[in-house]
């Protein structure tokens, strides 16, 4: 089975690209922050510097980790599910569930290992840049030597391999549980719903998010800027909660937008809505990074803006800790933006390329290229609306309580431009890649596309 795994990897390099990029990026981010722990262990590092470095690694790195695992899991699930038909063939020729499981886990392990090893150099560079940034803002002394060592390597490789393998094993289990005939039918229809466990997890996370928001607005009121830590977590958990529910949320949005959209552009919207409804599972994996991106970026940037105006009104200089938090926030948002953008583009390109055959069938049924393009644009708009709407709601769980805690008013006196900027980025990275990829995909003749 390991040989089969290697062979399947070699033949379908494209199909594994999305998982590879997610794992590579995840490992880069985890190792970048984990190298702060290596650096803090240096003998010449003062205890104040050590604290700053450890906070940086634990707080930002910790949340990066949650998101990385989430992203890696969702792309892996997507890539295995997209191969439903291939799995059905394997079952028909007599592969046992255990053999298929070993093949999927084997492939994933190879991809995860390759992704982690290639991430070492960029992570070294990233960690060094992060330390430079901390030193140049005076948060650690300029003499702290950069170290990339066993902690970074161990965490990077370990987390990547463990999360990828676990994700693969879970996906393999759900794939192999179906009987052979079922899975070929399922591969064609593809409408798994949202499982009960997932709904429970999402509800718990949303409750945690709201709970932290309430704590921020009430108990942590006297804590000043420190309440940012509680408030910041609120939107992270709420965003992940919504992301887990993406399929349900997407269906709700389709129900609301369905009618007016169907009136607007005729056959293209009609098809777009059918696709969204019928493939809400795959489509949801695209809405997820949009929710996370919007929720985390909006929450963090507005909290920082509230904090900035509070300190400037008070006329006090920021303490080192406040400056640390500010840097942390900006690094965090930068990372989220980068990660979400790459994940999103990655998922969109993979998902669109995978639809080549479906596009061919549609063209044979009479869709012109402009009709194909407007169809995928309508799909993307619905996804962007879903992602931005629920990301925005998730961010409120941080922003409103923090504003109450710091200024007494639930509505912050911050510029709307920040939000508009975030929405613009979210919309652009959601809507641009799909028609671009579609145009490339439909360049091959429809007959060839359906034969492939």
């Amino acid at each position: 089975m390991f040989r089969l795994a290697l062979q399947s990897l070699r033949h379908r390099t494209g199909g594994f690209m999305a998982s590879f990029i997610a794992l590579f990026l995840g490992a880069t981010i985890v190792m970048t922050f984990a190298s702060m722990l290596d650096t803090s262990g240096g003998s010449s590092v003062t205890s104040a510097d050590r604290d700053t470095l450890v906070i940086m690694a634990n707080v930002v790195g910790g949340f990066a980790l949650v998101i990385v695992i989430f992203a890696a899991t969702s792309t892996l699930t997507l890539s295995v599910r997209q191969r439903g038909a291939e799995m059905a063939v394997l079952k028909h020729v007599g592969a046992t569930p255990a053999q298929i499981g070993r093949m999927i886990v084997g492939e994933t392990t190879i991809v995860a290992l390759a992704g982690s090893l290639l991430a070492i150099l960029p992570a070294m560079l990233g960690g060094w840049l992060l330390l430079e940034a901390l030193a140049s803002t005076g948060q650690v002394s300029a003499t702290v030597p950069y170290r990339f060592g066993p902690i970074a390597l161990g965490l990077g490789l370990g987390i990547n391999l463990v999360s990828a393998t676990v994700a693969a094993a879970l996906t393999a289990r759900s794939t192999t549980r179906k009987r052979a005939s079922e899975s070929s039918a399922a591969a064609m229809i593809e409408t798994p719903g949202t499982g009960k466990k997932r709904v429970i997890a999402a509800v718990v996370l949303l409750a945690v998010g709201i709970g932290l928001g309430v704590v921020t607005a009430t108990v942590s009121r006297e804590e000043g800027y420190e309440s940012m830590q509680t408030a910041g977590q609120a939107s992270i958990w709420a965003s992940i909660g919504f992301a887990l529910l993406a399929q349900v949320l997407l269906r709700a949005i389709i129900t609301v937008l369905g009618h007016p959209l169907a009136q607007m552009t005729g056959a293209s919207s009609y098809l777009a809505l059918l696709n969204l409804r019928q493939r809400s599972h795959q489509m949801a994996s695209i809405a997820m990074p949009i929710i996370l991106f919007t929720g985390l970026a909006t929450g963090t940037l507005y909290m920082q803006d509230i904090e900035n105006s509070v300190t400037s009104v008070e006329g006090v200089a920021k303490s080192t800790i406040q400056k640390n938090i500010e840097t942390l926030n900006y690094v965090f948002v930068g990372m989220i933006v980068l990660f979400a953008a790459i994940m999103l583009i990655n998922t969109l390109v993979a998902a669109t390329t995978y639809r080549s055959r479906e596009f061919g069938q549609q063209r044979l049924a009479g869709s012109t290229p402009p009709q194909m393009l407007s169809m995928v644009v309508v799909e993307s708009i619905v996804l962007a609306v879903t992602g931005v709407l629920f990301g925005s709601i998730a961010s409120l769980v941080s922003v409103v309580p923090f504003s109450i805690a710091r200024t007494g008013s639930p509505v912050p006196d911050s510029p709307a431009g920040i939000y508009l900027g975030i929405v613009a980025v979210a919309v652009i990275i959601t809507i641009v890649p799909t028609p671009t990829t579609t145009r490339r995909v439909i360049r091959t003749s429809a007959v060839e596309a359906v034969a492939a």
């Binding site: 064609m188 056959a267 479906e358 069938q361 044979l364 009479g366 003749s445």
Partner: protein, 262 residues
């Protein structure tokens, strides 16, 4: 001997006309001449089978005639209208005048039977003629499966959906590429009967590529293709006569590979 249909006055007498159509794949040393200067006229209301050895150019002929691929040289006329333009123009042309039946069905998995059948009408922004749609669906025997998705249907049923989809736009031509290739004998026979009925009852013109002499015997006439050229024709074919002819076609090619080569 071809049944003429007076039902559709807008249609030209010749449903399909190919004028010196050639198709060359690749270039230089790798060039393959899949169609070699083919000229062909098929009257409206005819049912023609195209046969020939594997690689003789049957699919290429069908794709060029149906506007799915562009000939390297030559012209294609459907209903006396020349088929030219970019992909969007060709698609609009096909949507209006051509129906397809493929070996692999090519139904959209996300759509129900009814949605698949009416899709071409929706795409061309035409008003749905529900009476006509109902007649077509009854004809192919799918009236009770309208809400099923393709994955829930047997191969024979899926092929009947594609025939309904081809008929529903009331096209000038229906092209079928190995329509029975993926079906068992019983289902194959019912699909061939449906194609015959499309010609007889709906006045359609059908061109069907097949390698099965029994399938070909359902047509009004059989054209034989070898190395991108028409090399024979059989009217009112029987399966035996077609099989016999095919065997000799093989002999001819084996005997003179150079003379017939591209």
């Amino acid at each position: 001997m071809f049944r003429r249909h007076s039902g559709n006055p807008a249609r030209a007498a010749d449903a399909l006309r190919l004028v010196s159509v050639s198709k060359v794949y690749g270039d230089g040393a790798n060039a393959v001449t899949a169609l070699d200067d083919v000229t062909l006229t098929l009257p409206a209301g005819s049912f023609t089978a195209v046969m020939g050895p594997s690689g003789s150019g049957k699919s290429t002929l069908l794709h060029c005639a149906a506007g799915l691929d562009q000939p390297t040289t030559g012209q294609v006329f459907i209903d006396d209208k020349e088929m030219t333009g970019d992909e969007a123009a060709l698609t609009r042309f096909r949507r209006q005048r051509i129906g397809f039946v493929f070996q692999q069905f090519n139904l959209l998995p996300a759509l129900t039977v009814l949605q698949n059948v009416t899709l071409p009408l929706k795409l061309s922004g035409r008003k749905l003629d529900h009476t006509h749609i109902r007649i077509v669906l009854e004809q192919v025997g799918l009236s009770d499966r309208l809400e099923h998705r393709p994955a829930e249907l047997s191969g024979g049923e899926q092929q009947r959906v594609t025939i309904a989809r081809a008929l529903v736009t009331n096209p000038s031509m229906i092209f079928a590429d190995e329509p029975t290739g993926a079906l068992d004998t019983r289902n194959a026979r019912s699909i061939l009967t449906l194609l015959q009925e499309a010609v007889r009852d709906f006045g359609q013109t059908v061109v069907m590529v097949t390698h099965d002499p029994v399938a070909a015997s359902h047509a009004c006439s059989v054209l034989f293709l070898a190395d991108g050229k028409f090399v024979g024709r059989l009217d009112n074919p029987t399966a035996e006569a077609v099989a016999e002819r095919l065997t000799h076609l093989g002999d001819d090619i084996a005997r003179q590979p150079v003379a017939l080569g591209a």
